[in-house]
């Protein structure tokens, strides 16, 4: 217990709290005096930091919604319409993600590059002009994030759908509920906890992403995380990286809390009985 506790304390908890302190120092290293100048600089450029923060949060949320839209029916199909080969299908969804995510980002780069297979196909059917490209846009980043985190959402929703007892549905039917009513009032609320779990494991890393934007985002796909990583790897301004990390983390937690409260209001009761 002791080593595990020490490990988590020394490498997760303490560093996270120290980020707040580091952010107050005068750069470039983390040995300067406390001045708070980096916070002043960040606050002085709301146009830059605010914009990127909003973009990161919106991209994260959009990616989450996109994965829910794809993963929900997938989880349902897996749970209700596949019997013997269920785990095979589930494994097939997950397997590409057992390699490196960088490899998948690279694969997406190749797929959507100008003149690449996707663009060639779209040009072929007249949907795009030669020279058009999805690469280097925020759509590419969104697509990538949704692609990367889809399996997490499928697993979370699959676990939730799997728990829905068929007798509940039969009961709703016998009470005269139509297909839409059964979905809206029975099935959907029962999967809200799954969606919440999915939200946490998809939104958090997606909003904190930086490599995806760095490689695929180009001109207008820059994210808050990209700027954080540049503070460390390009200009070596460690206090600013710390301050920005704190901002991003707080923003993510606030937004997660907000979404949870909203869902709780939209589906009263759904979150009380987790099982």
């Amino acid at each position: 217990m002791l080593p595990s506790a020490l490990l988590l304390l020394a490498l997760v908890v303490v560093p996270l709290f120290l980020l707040v302190y580091f952010g107050l120092l005068a750069g470039p290293g983390v040995d300067g005096p406390v001045t708070g100048e980096e916070w002043a600089r960040i606050a002085g450029q709301p146009d830059l930091y605010g914009r990127l923060l909003v973009r990161s949060l919106v991209l994260g949320l959009a990616a989450t919604v996109l994965t829910i839209l794809v993963a929900w029916p997938t989880a349902w199909a897996l749970s209700r319409h596949v019997r013997r080969l269920r785990s095979l299908y589930l494994a097939l969804v997950i397997i590409p993600h057992l390699t490196s995510s960088l490899l998948l980002i690279y694969a997406m780069y190749v797929l959507i590059a100008p003149g690449g297979p996707l663009m060639a196909a779209l040009t072929g059917v007249g949907l795009a002009e030669p020279g058009d490209t999805l690469l280097f846009t925020r759509w590419a980043v969104l697509l990538m994030l949704a692609y990367l985190f889809l399996p997490f959402m499928v697993m979370a929703l699959y676990a939730a759908v799997e728990r829905i007892d068929d007798t509940v549905l039969d009961a709703a039917r016998s009470l005269g509920a139509g297909a839409w009513q059964r979905f809206r009032h029975v099935v959907l609320p029962l999967t809200v906890p799954g969606m919440l779990a999915g939200l946490v494991i998809v939104f958090t890393p997606a909003a904190g992403a930086f490599v995806e934007a760095r490689i695929l985002g180009g001109t207008d796909g820059m994210m808050f995380g990209t700027l954080i990583s540049e503070q460390v790897s390009r200009v070596n301004n460690q206090p600013r990286a710390a301050a920005m990390s704190v901002i991003l983390l707080v923003a993510i937690l606030v937004l997660l809390g907000g979404v949870r409260a909203t869902l709780r209001r939209a589906f009263p009761g759904a979150l009380r009985g987790g099982r």
Binding site: L48, T133, D220, N237
Partner: protein, 386 residues
């Protein structure tokens, strides 16, 4: 060798677990031990060099810190050096100036002999104590280096030479000859509405600021940053791509996603040779120029060998062989004797035209504050701040 490294890593992994239980204090000692070992080997080195065998550095190892695939790791570069000195060459790669500095700060000093920092960083690195002065008397080939480059202040600190000019290049106006009826002569085309969504602009704070300052008629080494920011924001609708590597540019250019922009001379020359419709020009306002310089790393395990390496790198033999290698991606040599031996075709491919140098604003050293300001500025532009 390789398997031993893995084994030691595995041992280290297990040690890591044990260390956790025993608290992480001992780590610093380990590091000291390693450096002690290195010191011992350097002592040995001095002994052997005094004896002066047929090959002066037989059995020694030189560690080079450089970009991947940037001349020094070509087979003939290493073979040529090993033939002359008997030493073995090992490379450590980095992917940018900041990373180079960090590598040296975090353990590279004392392990690495030579590095190729951008002159932009020379002064800061001297202050950090990660590079040391070069002894010009040990570099016979320094005579061939253009005076234009040796006159640049930024490679000196307190009158001592810290960076030895190796190769140079310019970042000029590059355009698709099929899309332009006549050669553009001003950076103004990048701001011209006609090229909306057609510009490829380099994702480099220093280049962006210098180019814009030149366009605005300002001092490229000390411009009015507000005016530069405004101009770059004006240009943004034209920019399709802020390119980060030669590959980025080439892919976008060959698929006609971009038609014009700022691009490296040598890479533009390679594209011309491959038959792409590429035009390259130094506009009337001038262009940013860059210089790659070799430095000796502070506390280098083998200072003499490091000088021998730099002397080999700037020699005409190596620079000519590199320039003539069609897949070598060589920029123009900073050694006049090497440049004179090149054929016209090779000169065109690597854009080895020293007469351009006077039109260039060579990137100089920047303070930490300037660097931060430039980086913030380009980040604002890229993020779409109005």
């Amino acid at each position: 060798m390789k398997t031993r490294r893995y084994a030691s890593l595995l041992a280290l992994a297990l040690a890591g677990a044990l260390m956790l239980a025993a608290c992480a204090e001992d780590e610093a000692d380990d590091v000291d031990e390693v450096t002690d070992d290195v010191d011992e080997t350097t002592d040995d080195v001095d002994d052997t060099t005094d004896e002066d065998a047929a090959l002066p550095f037989e059995g020694e190892t030189l560690t080079v810190l450089n970009w991947n695939d940037y001349g020094s790791d070509q087979d003939y570069a290493i073979a040529g050096f090993e033939e002359r000195t008997g030493a073995t060459v090992e490379h450590v790669y980095h992917s940018g100036g900041e990373e180079l500095r960090e590598v040296l700060r975090t353990g590279g000093v004392g392990e690495i002999d030579v590095a190729l920092p951008n002159p932009t960083y020379v002064e800061q690195m001297q202050e950090e104590g990660t590079i040391e002065a070069v002894d010009p008397d040990l570099l016979d080939n320094l005579d061939g280096v253009y005076d234009d480059f040796l006159d640049i202040d930024d490679i000196y600190v307190d009158g001592e030479l810290y960076g030895v000019p190796w190769v140079w290049g310019s970042t000029g106006l590059t355009y698709n000859t099929e899309h332009f009826d006549q050669e553009p002569t001003s950076w103004g085309v990048l701001w011209d509405d006609e090229w909306e969504g057609q510009v490829g602009f380099m994702d480099s704070p220093v280049e962006a600021v210098m180019l814009t300052a030149l366009y605005l008629g300002d001092d490229p080494h000390d411009p009015d940053l507000d005016a530069v920011r405004e101009a770059l924001i004006d240009m943004r609708p034209n920019v399709e791509l802020y390119w980060g590597s030669s590959d980025d540019w080439t892919r976008a250019f060959t698929t006609e996603a971009i038609s014009v922009g700022n691009f490296w001379a040598g890479d533009a020359g390679s594209m011309m040779e491959e038959g792409e419709p590429v035009g390259y020009v130094i506009p009337e306002e001038g262009a940013a120029g860059w210089l790659s310089t070799w430095s000796v790393v502070a506390d280098a395990p083998n200072v003499e060998l490091a000088h021998a390496w730099i002397d080999w790198m700037i020699s005409e033999e190596f620079l000519v062989e590199w320039a003539e290698d069609p897949t070598g991606n060589a920029p123009a040599p900073a050694n006049e004797l090497a440049q004179e031996q090149l054929s016209e075709d090779v000169k065109a491919r690597i854009q080895a035209y020293p007469e351009q140098v006077e039109d260039l604003a060579i990137m100089g050293s920047l303070s930490q504050e300037e660097q931060q300001a430039y980086t913030d500025l380009l980040a604002e532009v890229k993020a779409g701040v109005q």
